[in-house]
Amino acid sequence: MSLALRGVGYRYPGVAVPALLDVDLHLGSGEVVGVTGASESGKTTLCLVVSGLAPRVVGGRIRGTITLDGESVDDWPMHRLAGRVGIGFQDPTSQLSQVAVTVFEEVAFGPMNLGVARDAIVERTWEALGTLRIEGLAERDPRRLSGGQQQLVAMAGLLAMRPAHLVLDEPTAQLDPAGTRLVAEAVERLAEGGASILITEQKTDLLASVADRVVVLRDGRFALDGPTDEVLADPRLIELGVREPAPLRLRRLAATAGVDPALLQPAADA
């Protein structure tokens, strides 16, 4: 199970400047790739391209090749891709179907659209709710949940479609610390379960804890790409408009202030 981009570039409709350029990306089974970068650097665009929404739904022009398990997806319609690559967005409310009056039906929405048999839908729905530990919300009205809970419901809705790959665009951007923690735990659990995940975040602390690899975008290109520890400790991070994780920042500030970083060790790593 792998998803690969080779030499991919993308322009939005009516825009001359490409929003994504020369992207090479490989997402293997069980792998978590973190994507970060300044505002407008192309994180959302990358998510749309990887999920196939750009250009299928958004329009625009794409070049390069995208393959799923070695097969080109160029001619695939969106609903076919949707069963293989799931995508979640920042705003929890706009991801709800708006027709489901219970969380159960909300999560079942994707498999229902895919035409999966009823018994299988029921099984998948309970399983997705269980994976995110929100079985207790099954009977609730999804429109009346907190943002963090809604984000988990949206993720469960993706999982119920059983995609091999998950794309999450700043899933915690609009959440408070409690909601962020719920989502972070869910991402870890999904990765342990073998899903491959592409997750964009400006919160590098989150990436530090969940990602195997991190890519930093600048103006639609990969400026940095490597193992999480190396990329998040890279001195160029700041000029790329990315905040390093809190423990690293603390250590750097201590060093510039002339404090022995060793003194901080226990606190910073706690």
Binding site: S51, I87, D91, Q95, F104, G115, A117, R118, V122, A138
Partner: protein, 273 residues
């Protein structure tokens, strides 16, 4: 603890019995299409029927009695009056005072005269408006829109149609909420939304802009989210459940529609008041 854990686990499998939970009253539990038919027939019949007695009987028979049966009379009165009041008052006053054929003077205020003929016509209009708003409100209070969408989908109507209608209905409160939020935010930044009408008018622009742009952006994101969940797939979706329906209700729906047809034809042929 362990026992409780096992209990909850056990209930977390199989089709939940609370899906499409039946409504609290027999009227709620009617098939959504039956309630929609009743509302439509009532509204159209109120317009087609002339006079005062016909629409008044409709209000009693097709709105008030079912509302009592469904236990929603209080809310129905409040909501349907709120809904109808602005139109009802203006239509009533215009007809009372400016009815063209009015001769019998009832009341004179300066140059304008209220006539008995005007009063009669105004009451007729009022009865029709109340029948329409009552029928619509009764449907709204006793039916979840999503149930109607599901029911229509089961009958072969494209889910997209019901979906768009349902989503538009749902979008209104969200837009109002956004407007309230933006107003509060702009006010916190020193925007004037109070004071003279001119200042208020100027204050509205920074609110309307973000509300509209925000809605467009949200629609785009919603569309993407739906497509990403395979909503665009051709062919039938799997439905988990569908609202209860009976052959008898089907007969009632056809009878209602046939009755309406007879009434409209008769009125067009000039029968009745």
């Amino acid at each position: 603890m362990a026992g409780r854990e096992r209990l909850t686990r056990a209930s977390h499998s199989g089709l939940p019995e609370w899906l499409g939970r039946p409504g609290p009253s027999a009227y709620h539990r009617l098939n959504p299409l039956t309630k929609a038919t009743l509302a439509t027939v009532t509204a159209v019949a109120a317009v087609a029927l002339g006079g005062l007695v016909g629409p008044a009987l409709l209000v009693i028979g097709a709105v008030l009695i079912p509302a009592v049966a469904a236990g929603v009379l209080g809310r129905l009165l409040r909501l349907s009056l709120l809904l109808a009041l602005p139109i009802a008052i203006s239509a009533f006053l215009v007809n009372l005072f400016f009815f063209p054929g009015g001769r019998t003077e009832l009341l004179r205020i300066g140059p304008i005269v209220a006539t008995a003929e005007g009063l009669g016509f105004a009451l007729e209009i009022l009865a029709r408006i109340l029948a329409i708003s009552g029928a619509v409100t009764l449907f709204y209070l006793t039916t979840r829109p999503s149930d109607l969408v599901l029911d229509l989908e089961r009958r072969g109507v494209s889910p997209r149609i019901g979906f768009v209608a349902n989503a538009s209905v749902q979008a209104v409160p969200a837009m109002v909420e956004r407007a309230v939020q933006i107003t509060a935010a702009q006010r916190a930044r020193g925007l004037d939304t109070e004071g003279s009408p001119l200042r208020r008018a100027r204050g509205i622009l920074p609110i309307v802009g973000p509300v509209i742009l925000g809605s467009i952006a949200e629609v785009e994101e919603r569309t993407m989210a739906l497509e990403a969940r395979a909503f665009g797939r051709p062919g039938r979706r799997t439905l988990l459940w569908a609202p209860h329906d009976t052959a008898a209700e089907g007969v009632v729906r056809w009878l209602l529609l046939a009755g309406l047809l007879v009434l409209v034809v008769a009125r067009l042929a000039g029968v009745g008041p």
